[in-house]
Amino acid sequence: MALKWRFLDYETKDGDVPIRDWYSAEPGQVQSAFDTTVRHLSVTEIWTVRDGAKPLTRQHVGLTELLVDIDVWAARAARGVKRRFRPVGVRNDDEGTFLFLGGCSKVGGMLDPITAFDDAMRRWDEWQRGLGKVHDHEL
């Protein structure tokens, strides 16, 4: 398979893998939507918002959030309720990699956990200072 992007998971110096922790706490509907988004991005040369990726701004410049939105349907409901999930990381265009630093959900304009992007920035800083390690992200 012709992959254009290699996805990596960051492991903190304490041995935590934030994206794995986020993923394993989510239900199958979120996991499968996330897996499919990552798979499609891995073979997409140029990412746009429509592809499911958006660079963050302001105090989180440098991070990119993946846009994973799903419709949750209650039994016999006429329509689903939109729920938004935001795995986040750093894209390195030179190396063709995307390093996952964490994940969260988004309700209105609020993140859950609210510090998710700040935590990702901190982990990125740690990684740049040589702390922690990375693994290939497995689909």
Binding site: M1, G28, V43, L139
Partner: protein
């Protein structure tokens, strides 16, 4: 087989939603690649598909998820490609998941492109067979040219299946009365095959 994905599929909830994610996200992914290939705007596709631009925009959103079959049929018509919606075993879905690439989608021919290939291959095969060339030699070059057109990439197997159409057509046409063995020289065969190769090349 993607063993890690297969392991996840052992969970019924994941399995159900994996199908949902594939159905809902694969079509927008394909549409984006086909738009890039055609270099069309959403408006141009909307016009060809006889849809509003809003409908095309919604269909392109992987998070929309409420595409109707009618809209999909209109979009297929806009791109002049076919659409298959059918029940398949999970192994087939995993295979599709692992094989998908943008290049594969760029290579998806419209009916007009396919029809030109089929016609040219059929004509060339018939001509060379009538000229007395060995069927195996002609078919070999049809196949060789077809494989070369997909670049030898691992994801090309699906494209090869698509491109089997001219090959099958050539085989069918070669069921014409054959000349006696040994009537073709190497030079003639090479010339014939070269011409056929050009005829079926994308």
């Amino acid at each position: 087989m993607n063993s890690r994905l297969w392991e996840k599929l052992r969970n019924k909830a994941y399995r159900k939603h994996f199908v949902e994610a594939q159905v809902k996200r694969q079509i927008p992914f394909q549409m984006r690649a086909l738009l890039k290939k055609a270099r069309w705007t959403q408006g141009e596709l909307a016009e060809r598909a006889e849809l509003t631009q809003g409908a095309v925009s919604r269909a392109l959103n992987p998070n929309y998820g409420n595409l109707t079959l009618n809209t999909i049929i209109h979009i297929a018509s806009g791109f002049d490609v076919a659409f298959i919606g059918r029940f398949v075993p999970f192994s087939k879905l995993v295979e599709e998941f692992d094989e998908v690439t943008e290049e594969l989608l760029y290579s998806l021919p419209s009916f007009t492109e396919e029809d030109a290939l089929v016609t040219e291959a059929a004509t060339a095969a018939r001509t060379f067979a009538q000229e007395g060339h060995k069927p195996a030699r002609v078919l070999s070059f049809v196949k060789k040219q077809r494989d070369a057109s997909v670049g030898g990439d691992a994801g090309a197997s699906k494209l090869q299946r698509l491109n089997d159409i001219p090959l099958r057509q050539a085989k069918a046409d070669l069921k014409l009365p054959q000349p006696p063995a040994g009537t073709v020289t190497k030079t003639e065969a090479d010339t014939a095959a070269s011409g056929l190769g050009q005829a079926v090349g994308y």
